[in-house]
């Protein structure tokens, strides 16, 4: 269900297929160029995502009553600043 969330894996797979097609298939020049342009675009999108995206963090809890609570968080909210659970970590 979470598989298509960022589509990264799908993009990599498409890119891989394009590279293989360009290297092996004897397709018309026009198609090769379309593949090439799509491939370069995919490579750029993937690199861009890797270089520019920020990690997203979310806290999830489900109460005994079955209430699902999702809270987006910033990394600094998770600083080990309060020891009220008494865990020696």
């Amino acid at each position: 269900m979470t598989e298509n969330e960022n589509g990264f894996e799908e993009k990599l797979k498409e890119l891989e297929a394009i590279v293989n097609r360009l290297e092996s298939a004897d397709q018309p020049l026009e198609e090769s160029l379309r593949d090439f342009e799509r491939g370069i675009e995919l490579a750029r999108e993937c690199s861009h995502a890797l270089n520019n995206m920020q990690l997203r963090i979310e806290q999830l809890t489900v109460s005994a009553e079955g209430e699902v609570l999702r809270t987006p968080m910033e990394p600094q909210e998770l600083n080990a600043d309060s020891g009220d659970r008494g865990e020696p970590e």
């Binding site: 269900m1 979470t2 598989e3 298509n4 969330e5 960022n6 990264f8 894996e9 990599l12 890119l15 891989e16 394009i18 590279v19 360009l22 290297e23 020049l29 026009e30 090769s32 160029l33 593949d35 090439f36 342009e37 491939g39 370069i40 490579a43 750029r44 993937c46 690199s47 995502a49 890797l50 270089n51 995206m53 920020q54 990690l55 997203r56 963090i57 979310e58 806290q59 999830l60 809890t61 489900v62 699902v68 968080m73 990394p75 998770l78 600083n79 080990a80 309060s82 020891g83 009220d84 659970r85 865990e87 020696p88 970590e89």
Partner: protein, 405 residues
């Protein structure tokens, strides 16, 4: 006045009733002696201390439930149950429902028994282990929100694979509530399909602190999880049962994070390689098209050759130009190799010169005119420009003297 006379059975039954009324179920501690398991699965043994002894029976169902803490002769244990009278034997006994080992050594031994029982059930089998997804979109983390473990995991995932999302399910990782909370968290992540892979862990600690990760319920939940689980209990020397049941095990939370997400640098490098392979393949394709053009030029009649040549040259040139611009865009990401290629393609293009505003003159045979000397006034000329051509006649010819340069 005659005293009543009782049968043996009456006395025994009265005693049984007295015992049942007076003594509710209780814990008894003692050393195990003369342990026997019957063929039917019942356990018989005697609890002894320095002063007394107490026969104990555990019926088959109770014995099965306590298989992982099966008593051994000489072990100090606690047994819980009700006292009753064994009528045929004329003695009293403890009918036990639970037994617990006592003392530090006993905890280790109970752990060994549980480990063995679960191993026999196949919970740790390699066959059960699920592969980890290579590119998880969502990484589930079950740990204390205040521990070092969550910090380490977030740092590594953020560094290596920032396009992922981390879903933290906060739990306590030690104390009596820990097993229940961990089991609940894992079940919920599965139920909600809230992650592609789950890291369960904590950041090190003494052997006792790890007890939640040796809890049978936790171990079973990990083994049953549909989502792949990586354990990160953070204890190099002491492997927990959760480690054994998990699909992958890491020595520390940081190592677990490295296991679950791919590495950005490796991926970027791979993308570079892909771009290079594509450009190389395209260059080959374009070069082979140029060769085909050259063949055509030889094979086709002058008139048709002109049209075909023009069309195709223009088309190839356009493709080369598009390739070049795509390559240039890619080169923004430090693609030196591709930049070189773009330059090469540009230099190779026969019509690039025309793009810059120059023109080429052909005589009536279609041969390029390189010097004025080869033209006489009145000769037909074909002047090729960036797009299209001009048919003309030479009005006059002015030869330029060699400058002597």
């Amino acid at each position: 006045m005659e005293e009543p006379i009782y049968s043996v059975r009456q006395v025994t039954q009265a005693l049984q009733e007295l015992l049942e009324e007076a003594v509710p179920p209780l814990w008894v501690e003692g050393e195990v002696s003369n342990f026997r398991a019957s063929r039917a699965g019942h356990w018989y043994f005697t609890l002894i201390d320095a002063h007394a002894q107490l026969p104990v029976v555990m019926w088959r169902l109770a014995a099965m439930r306590n298989q992982h803490v099966r008593p051994e002769d000489g072990a100090l244990i606690r047994a819980r149950g009700a006292l009753n009278v064994y009528q045929q034997g004329g003695n009293y006994q403890l009918q036990a429902e639970r037994v617990l080992p006592v003392g530090k050594g006993a905890v280790v031994s109970a752990l060994e028994h549980l480990r063995e029982a679960l191993r026999k059930e196949g919970l740790f089998s390699e066959k059960r282990k699920k592969p980890l997804p290579p590119f998880p979109s969502v990484v589930g983390v079950i740990t204390s929100p205040r521990g070092a473990a969550v910090q380490d995991i977030l740092a590594i995932v953020g560094e290596r694979y920032p396009i992922a999302r981390v879903v933290l399910y906060p739990v306590v990782v030690q104390g009596e509530n820990a097993p229940r909370e961990i089991v609940h968290a894992l079940r919920m992540l599965n139920l909600l399909d809230a992650a592609d892979v789950v890291v369960i862990g904590r950041g090190g600690g003494s052997s006792e602190d790890l007890s939640a990760f040796n809890d049978e319920a936790v171990v079973r939940a990990v083994a049953e999880s549909r989502l792949p689980v990586v354990s990160a209990v953070g204890h190099e020397t002491d492997i927990t049962l959760t480690d054994l049941a998990a699909d992958a095990r890491a020595a520390t939370p940081s190592a677990a994070a490295e296991r679950v997400v791919p590495d950005k640098e490796a991926l970027l490098n791979e993308l570079d390689v892909c771009a290079g392979r594509m450009a190389k393949a395209m260059r080959r394709r374009i070069e082979s098209s140029r060769q085909k053009l050259a063949e055509l030029k030889r094979a086709v009649s002058p008139k048709r050759q002109r049209d075909a040549l023009q069309n195709r040259m223009q088309r190839v040139d356009e493709l080369a130009w598009r390739l070049e611009s795509a390559v240039k865009a890619q080169a923004l990401q430090k693609q030196n190799r591709l930049q070189t290629l773009a330059g090469t393609l540009n230099a190779l293009s026969p019509l690039a010169v025309l793009e810059r505003g120059y023109s080429v003159c052909f005589n009536e045979n279609g041969t390029p005119i390189r010097t004025a000397e080869t033209v006489k006034p009145g000769d037909p000329l074909r002047i090729k420009l960036r797009r299209g051509e001009i048919l003309a006649n030479a009005l006059a010819v002015r030869k330029e003297e060699d400058d002597g340069e």
